[in-house]
Symmetry: D3
Subunit: 313 residues, 6 copies
């Protein structure tokens, strides 16, 4: 079976796909139809299911895996599927939604191992205990969640993958500038986005939670450090705690980007730079892999709406 991204225009195909979204609407003729987004791990494509019965509507809902017979077409320059037949996947067929979702390029177990190594490199005792405590409390979510609803690292495992990439960059940078404290940098990197396990609803059909909207992930990880201190009997007034909280609170760099304080410590400033660098890189890669050499990407919202060019070299 071909993947969705591999189909050419006017090609007919059969494929197991995940129903990523399934919105019921009314057509001009008064009849209902379902506007689907189908997904496999190569990408997504839209398609309309005309004249949907009430039973169809009850059957084909978000999160189900279906067997789709269709034809890839272009509608107003956008690819879409003309649906020819559709049924739910049966037992014995590949019905696990996670098979159809984009994943981090590294295996979870490998990532866990590498995290452990970095954790051991946090040699300052209080930071080590706090980070270990919080990570173990949210281990499951941390390795499953995306890093965002859309834009960069918006895939299952994206949160851990983004954090891991930053740990590796932090290591290179610490080696280049020996004045930096690697323990503080690693501890800050590990925690900086962890509040997203509260801010986002999970790896599938990711939405912002109420807490995410009202508090934001930056404040929520600060609260986690506060609670960890109580649970570990570490004084919140210790300078080590203030400094770790600061590095995490300041990581968006500018107040306009949601940090309540700007970096006032060298490691906070650097963590912000690395976060920016990895996010930019990931957004560029996400768009550039959809074009051929000599072409421009679409405009990327998170990069000030710039489009990028893939050189022909």
């Amino acid at each position: 079976m071909k993947k969705l991204r591999e189909l050419s225009v006017d090609e007919t195909f059969e494929a197991f796909v995940l129903l990523k979204t399934a919105d019921v609407r009314v057509a001009r003729n008064g009849k209902k139809f379902i506007a689907f987004t189908f997904q496999d791990n190569s990408g997504t494509i839209d398609g309309k299911y005309w004249g949907a019965s009430d039973e169809d509507i009850a059957t084909f809902t978000t999160g189900n895996v279906v067997l789709l017979n269709g034809k890839r077409e272009l509608y107003q320059n956008m690819p879409q599927v003309k649906i020819m037949h559709l049924r739910l996947a049966k037992e014995g067929e590949p019905t696990d939604p996670s098979l159809y979702m984009e994943k981090a390029p590294i295996d979870i177990d490998e990532m866990k191992q590498e995290f452990n190594d970095y954790l051991l490199d946090i040699t300052q005792a209080k930071w080590h205990r706090i980070v270990r405590h919080i990570l173990s409390k949210y281990q499951k979510e941390f390795f499953e969640y995306p890093a965002a609803k859309r834009n960069h690292h918006a895939f299952a495992g994206g949160l851990a993958f983004h954090t891991l990439t930053m740990l590796r960059l932090a290591k290179s940078v610490s080696q280049e500038y020996t004045e930096l404290n690697p323990s503080l940098l690693y501890a800050g990197v590990m925690l900086h986005d962890l509040g997203k396990v509260h801010e986002l609803s999970g790896p599938v059909a990711t939405e912002y939670t109420l807490a995410g909207n009202l508090l934001g992930h930056i404040v929520m990880v600060d609260e986690e450090i506060t609670k960890a201190c109580i649970e570990l009997n570490i004084s919140e007034l210790d300078e080590e705690v203030l400094v770790l909280k600061h590095v995490v609170l300041a990581h968006h760099g500018l107040l306009e980007y949601g940090s309540p304080v700007r970096p006032k410590i060298m490691e906070a400033e650097i963590l912000h730079h690395l976060d920016n660098l990895d996010a930019s890189m990931q957004m560029m890669l996400g768009s550039l892999k959809q074009v051929n050499p000599g072409e421009y990407t679409e405009r990327i919202f998170g990069l000030d709406n710039r489009n990028f060019y893939l050189p022909n070299i």
Copy 2:
């Protein structure tokens, strides 16, 4: 004895005053002098003490009350004192520094009483318990601290006075717009600036603390609510808690002003407006009371550097 603000140019005087600052410097001739700022509860004035001995330097330090004989002069259009004689105040003389500092225009006990009344008007049980718990923990500091290092409400008791004024405004506004929840508004007002008891060093020679610089008062009051929930056995996930935290976190209104989230709840938006209004009012009053009708104030930093005119009417 005349107050400092009552003196005319070239008038000689004798007065007990507080040494607000006392900086030792070297003159062009190589001798040391002390640059004083003298303070009584009518205002402040600068004066230089030429040819200071090491003993003088050890004696006349910040926070002491002295008996000053001097003459008020103008130097480059700014008032200053020509110091004729200076000695420490003795026992039996008015040596309590707080006698010379600006104070809130209402007595502390009256303020406490009025606070209690508003606390009783918080009828939602969780908010009532959380606010009562935190206020009683920091009651002493709350009624002593200024609301800022400079600018608005920068006087002893200023924090409580600012909060009380906002409670009264909140009451009027709740009566005008009945859709507002007065319990939420009062709870938010009471807590909104309470983090300043951690952010500022205290009522005398007020400075920002390390925690103030690294975390800021907005995050610190959020942490206090987190701790109160633990101590009171209230779930942090309750919508009442999220909403209360949000109202407090969002009170600066804009991310650029240090709130990590913008108001997304009606009462958060209104609290921000009332905070702005009282701060503007207090800054204008502070400057306007130093000029006569028909004159302009100096430019006020916190009001976009505007100067204000006192009409001749």
Copy 3:
């Protein structure tokens, strides 16, 4: 008969409604249709009238009341009416357009009475005469006009209602800050938006006038004060006149918002704060009353495109 906002999806109904807009267009098949917006005092709903004859087009024009038989549907997630039958309302039926338009929550006569009381509280003679003179000249329009084409107070009587709310807030604030001059504040509030009787075309199908586009309401009320001075034989150079004009000219607070000067007098600054507060409050209420507890509003353009949450408490 049910109101438009009370209908459920797929419900058929009959109702008298106002034709708020009636745009004639050509369908893909070359035939004409009319795109209606129907309105009653609970809200509005769109509906298309297919295959309209020239007679239909001449009959069903903006501002007429019709009897509508239809079915409420959803089209691309937006409510619309499937029109089953339509005829003009006849004599004896409720044909007065004002029955179908949103209104200020207070009766006009009550508002007039309350305005008179505030007018008596303007004790400074020149301000009193000027305000009374202008208000009586435009009394009819002042109590009929909306305060805006859309956004806040965009309903018949909205201008007077917005002004009245601000007078009440001004009264509370004057009582809290006794340094404010209530006469000046009331006079400024009463006149601040009065130029809108020139800027807007009226309560129905409100548009900006040419004068509104080329001069704006702020300048036009300044001109009204100039003319009032001539007619009342008050010197334009009197400080009372300059100060009143300033309070009115500066009420948008920032040059970017169209005030030619920024507030330089205490009452001008406060009037700006109260104007902001009431506009924000009205925009939030307008959106929040369309959602249920636990839901978010749509994004509100006039509030920096934020959406708001209605707590579940």
Copy 4:
């Protein structure tokens, strides 16, 4: 006698000069001195008069002409005069202050003649009458006032000279773009800065008036048009009047620069461009004439703090 700008360092000289400012201060030794700014029509220079007696202070006041014996020196890289002798100019000597002030490069009578020619070119009757009416009312001030307190055209006659230069540019531009209405452009140019006769205190020791601070010159010329309409019995509602007012109100181009409306008519946009061009040109010339080829000017506040280079060509 040499002019002030012609003196070299360490040169002694005798010259009649105007006392532009004369501020009394107290020196470190407790004695009074006067800080003078001397002016002739080539420029200004500062000098301190040490040990001033009360009689000196009463004699040497702003606006008097004096005979100064002094020596030009450098103090902290700024030129200053060491005063050797000073006395008031006597009868028979050149005591008229206007002899010492910078002037427009064209004679007033020539300017008046050229204005009349342009006035005749305003062929639209209402604009012609309004402009003639206002200009004749303020003719004296219009030809005496500067166009600003500092920055561009800050010299006696500067207002008329700036207006005249813009009329000439307007003529060239109208000839290049025949779609422009020269009558409207000339009428707008003639009135655009006329409000400065109210905004500024006059040609000597120019300050902002209270009306200037509270209303600004843009609003005040709009009021003048309103009054002219009443006096000339022209309806304020005529489109010709609205359009003329608009061109004047919009001439600062951006709300941030104090126009209450942005240009919405071609001639308003062009008037704004020409105003900008002449102001920039005048500021550059003012600074460049103080440097030699191959040198940079000081930074010019009104041009975003840029400095300019005079090429060596």
Copy 5:
């Protein structure tokens, strides 16, 4: 034959027109259609060609001239053509695309003559040689290219016409301000936008080139001056060369608009003003000629999204 802009609604017509764009799409019924934009020298109009065969698609491509029989209609308030018949223009019929494109209002030969006159007025030898060298290298493109892909001067010959208009304005301004160096101003004007012959793809179906996107026209004309110096054996270090390059590099005035340096020389500042003035004028004229007196234009993107009013005078 009528021009496209002269047709009234529902009028049938026959006309030779250029296929400006021809996009193939799939309709809801699965059949292909072509979305055309037709153009003649009065303007453009869209039209859909339903049920296009593969032969139609191969025949009716961008850049061809066709004979169109159609009916002008309104679809959603926008004019469109209902296509009744379509065929390619034959030999002997007016098949030259340039007949259907908008042109500069002056004949190319006249423009060339006027350019030569201005070139002779560049009396500084190095500037004269450099400008002559570059202009003769790109003479053909310079007189054919538009000045932009859209917005101002987006027509064949627009680049030369824009440059010529600026030369005329530069002459007037140099006469008004005799301190300006007309040679430098003319040389700067002639070169300022010449890099557009590299930045844009040409007069038909204008797009940005890769070099245009990656380097921009400002840098490319600087490179041309560098190369001209090498070819003419003029030292790049000569102040005349630096100054000429600066005037060209700085002509966008602000860094935000793409100039790598802000104007630091009088002529650079003035060139920027004139460029702005002509661009604004051209954008306003382009929009205003599409409306009648008493109407507003559409919003103009390049003028901060303002709309303009054409007075009824």
Copy 6:
């Protein structure tokens, strides 16, 4: 001999120092003095030389090495030297100015070696040839110049050191993101600031050159690539050349920071991030090494005027 930074207050000392600046001024008493800034490789200190004779002024000029006997004092909280004796260094004493200037922390020969290694890693032929050609042309200046007049890397060899640090970071980042083209990244890094050899006057008493002010270093390196192409017979139109120029032109990231284009290629975006990171790091280190743990630095202009805290950990 002690270094300047090692002296305590009131300590007398003798030291060879470089005269970094020597400005002649006139004191209030009319006598001349010289305001010196003395420098050794630990830092700088100011001192005034009162009553300077014309011979002193001719002797003690910028760039000379002197033997200074003095006493370190505090004047208005800033350290200064009271000069007790001063003479020029004689032959046989350490008179080489470079001994007293701050230097890059790596030896020049080591840097050259490392550069060569990176040059070999540019495997794309055209980029390799262009970079080698330009570097060899400016080799001497490249390894001597600072990277800025002040702020980051403002020391001899700073330009090469900054470039080398970025090469190392570029290597780490290329290894982490294998989609990046290391040849392009290295070529871009090597050239990105090379224009500073034209923009700055040299390692001693560094000033901006006229070319630096009028063109800027970004444009000048683009010109160097243009010339290199001519000299190496590489077509300027090759995509490899366009792409290399783009990476260099875009390295300031934002138009507001002086890049004429924003990054549109992945390697351009990353080069900008690395440049930012190293500049921030260098500015922080420069300030932090002047404070003790537990202290704040002064505000750093290039980092938005933030001050930084050195943790006590």
